[in-house]
Amino acid sequence: MVKNSKRKTINTIIAREEFCIGCRLCEIACITAHSKTKNIIKAFKGEYPLPDSAIVFEEKGHISFALQCRHCDDALCVECCITGAMTKKDGKVIYRKELCVGCWMCVMVCSFGVISPDITASKIKSKCDFCLETGKPACVEICPNEALVLKEDNEQD
């Protein structure tokens, strides 16, 4: 039987550590993309508070890479969310902050460790939404060395 899927092609953001130069512009771009003005200078010079970056940046010595939500096919965070704050929509894992109570089930099951809890606010700090508004993830767009790339996972149906 054919899998009844609303998804066509899923793009995943892939980090290629051998090309990450550690500039962390992905974080800057992520913050900008989720700011009110979406303008890097206006956001950083005039907006307070700025949104958190949805990127987890790992760096040690010359090796570094940026990770963000992979919008997994069978997303455990969605399965395990006790409030429905994490949902799958058009192949993307979307976080609805207003529903979240801070139970950290998603933090517990996220294999990539890219869901960061904000303990005091009982919410997730920031969650990659694949830059739904523009359709092009800002981190991928800005990465100067294509260390962050979109990998196409074609559905097999």
Binding site: F19, G22, C23, L25, I41, H62, I142, P144, N145, E146
Partner: protein, 500 residues
């Protein structure tokens, strides 16, 4: 000793209205020019550390940074220009030979810039490369005199076949990063041209591109063994290099990493010293022996060429090399680049490639041996127009080195010898080499070759020529501007304004 009293070469101009303190500049500068000061919450830049590579400027996402030339305060003096002044100051401080990278940067005449091309008007239709085939396929190697002679030969001569008469010049793994080599090799593969290992050996990971690889045998013999020679598409004996004719090379031991030692077949951490001459070639007959030793090694299945720097006596030298059995001769003009050379040598030794091509081509024709070897011109090819001019002057193909690196990001800051290349090219530092993503590098180089191919075809079409063979040595298509009679005669071209 006191800090040398030298004014900085550059100034880092930071527009505070644009700087968002993201610190990307601080993170990327290999010279530690920028640093974030927690106390004043600002980034401070040390002008003296800036080498003008523009990496920070390019990566700054708000455009807050501009790297400017720092104008020296020394009183204007025709004889004592800033460069000479600063060099002298540096030597007074260090007491050593001044090193530099890349090619001759002095304002010698550039003949390419004094040569213009022809185009068809009325009497001869120009050809539109979008609508008609335009052929730039090129064969490099010894070509028989006639089809009759070909039939008499026991073995077909082996020729290199390239889809564009532009090859990637010799740049060793060691002088440049593996990622740079990978970009170049992959691009050569993709564009169906050739790349050259330089004296860096053939790293294992690049063996998949071996059928598009010219391997070098240089005075240090690094990386050379029978397998290396037999795997390659062609062999190039390197006698000299345009940036430093008569000077050897030296890769310091600290740069001889495990990978490099494997590629060069020398112990890890030892200095890789290429002597100034080949110590088994002190004369032309010695060269002949080496050429044939190599040909024997590869059972005459690969073209063997010789690379020389363009020097005063270049035409007789090349004639001798051709008669010694070389299948191609690479001539490297004095604007050719290098990873490290003494400033004084780079700036003052050798002759321009344009003159060298013209005199060599004429000489070989006079001797009736022009088809016995191909000429690859190197050293100072910057654009497709230079390619067309070099070929019209008589070259079979050109090598591009500096142009290759610029396509990969190089901003010609001439600091290759420091190993701190921010663009990840002339460095082995793992922090820096990763900055050159070979996928991007390959794409950019194939783009470059594609663009040049299109331009070459446009220029040829304009001249009413649809095969590169009809351009090669076709000096009628060239005219000089602002050149004296002697220069015109050496180049074998007429002055602009002269008809056919």
């Amino acid at each position: 000793m006191a800090i040398p009293k030298i004014v900085p070469d550059f100034r880092v101009i930071r527009d505070e209205n644009l700087c968002i303190n993201c610190q990307a500049c601080c993170r990327v500068c290999s010279n530690d020019t920028h640093s974030f000061d927690q106390n004043i919450a600002k980034i401070i830049s040390d002008h003296r550390k800036c080498v003008g590579c523009h990496f920070c400027e390019e990566i700054c996402s708000t455009g807050a940074l501009t790297i400017e030339k720092c104008y020296s305060q020394i009183r204007e003096n025709f004889n004592w220009n800033e460069v000479d002044f600063k060099n002298l100051m540096k030597q007074a401080h260090s007491g050593g030979i001044l090193l530099t990278g890349m090619g001759n940067d002095r304002p010698w005449i550039n003949y390419f810039d004094h040569i213009v091309l022809n185009a068809s008007q009325v009497t001869n239709p120009s050809i539109d490369p979008l609508r008609e085939p335009m052929e730039i396929k090129t064969f490099i190697g010894r070509k028989p005199d006639s089809i009759e002679q070909l039939k008499k030969e026991k073995k077909l001569p082996i020729l290199l076949e390239t889809e564009i008469p532009v090859l990637f010049s010799a740049m060793s793994y060691g002088s440049i990063s593996l990622n740079a080599c990978k970009s170049i090799a992959a691009a050569a593969w993709e564009a169906k041209t050739y790349w050259n290992t330089g004296e860096g050996g053939l790293p294992e990971s690049l063996k998949k591109f071996v059928s598009r690889t010219i391997v070098q045998v240089a005075s240090g013999r690094f990386g050379v063994d029978a397998r290396y020679l037999n795997e390659a598409s062609a062999i190039e004996i390197k006698i000299g290099q345009g940036a430093k004719p008569g000077i050897g090379g030296h890769l310091p031991g600290e740069k001889v990493t495990a990978d490099i030692s494997a590629a060069r077949k020398i112990p890890e951490g030892t200095d890789a010293i290429s002597p100034a001459p080949h110590h088994d070639i002190y004369s032309i007959e010695d060269l002949k022996q080496l050429i044939y030793a190599l040909k024997e090694t590869v059972d005459y299945k690969k073209p063997v060429g010789v690379k020389v720097a363009a020097v005063h006596n270049i035409a007789p030298i090349v004639s001798g090399i051709v008669r010694a059995g070389a299948d191609f001769v690479t001539i490297d003009g004095f604007r050719g680049g290098t990873g490290a050379a003494p400033v004084v040598i780079r700036n003052n030794v050798g002759i321009p490639i344009e003159i060298a091509i013209a005199t060599v081509d004429s000489r070989l024709r006079q001797e009736g041996i022009r088809n016995h070897a191909s000429i690859i011109a190197a050293g100072g090819i910057r654009s497709s127009a230079d390619v067309v001019k070099a070929i019209a002057l008589g070259a079979d193909a050109v090598y591009i080195g500096t142009a290759t690196l610029v396509a990969l990001g190089c901003h010609i800051c001439q600091k290759c010898y420091t190993g701190k290349c921010n663009w990840g090219i002339a460095t082995q530092d793992p922090y820096l080499t990763r900055r050159l993503n070979p996928e991007i590098g390959k794409r950019r180089l194939t783009n470059l070759l594609r663009a040049w191919a299109l331009e070459i075809k446009e220029m040829m079409g304009g001249m009413g020529i649809n095969a590169i063979e009809s351009l090669r040595g076709n000096r009628d298509q060239l005219r000089g501007i602002g050149l004296n009679d002697k220069e015109l005669a050496l180049l074998g071209i007429k002055h602009a304004g002269d008809a056919w």
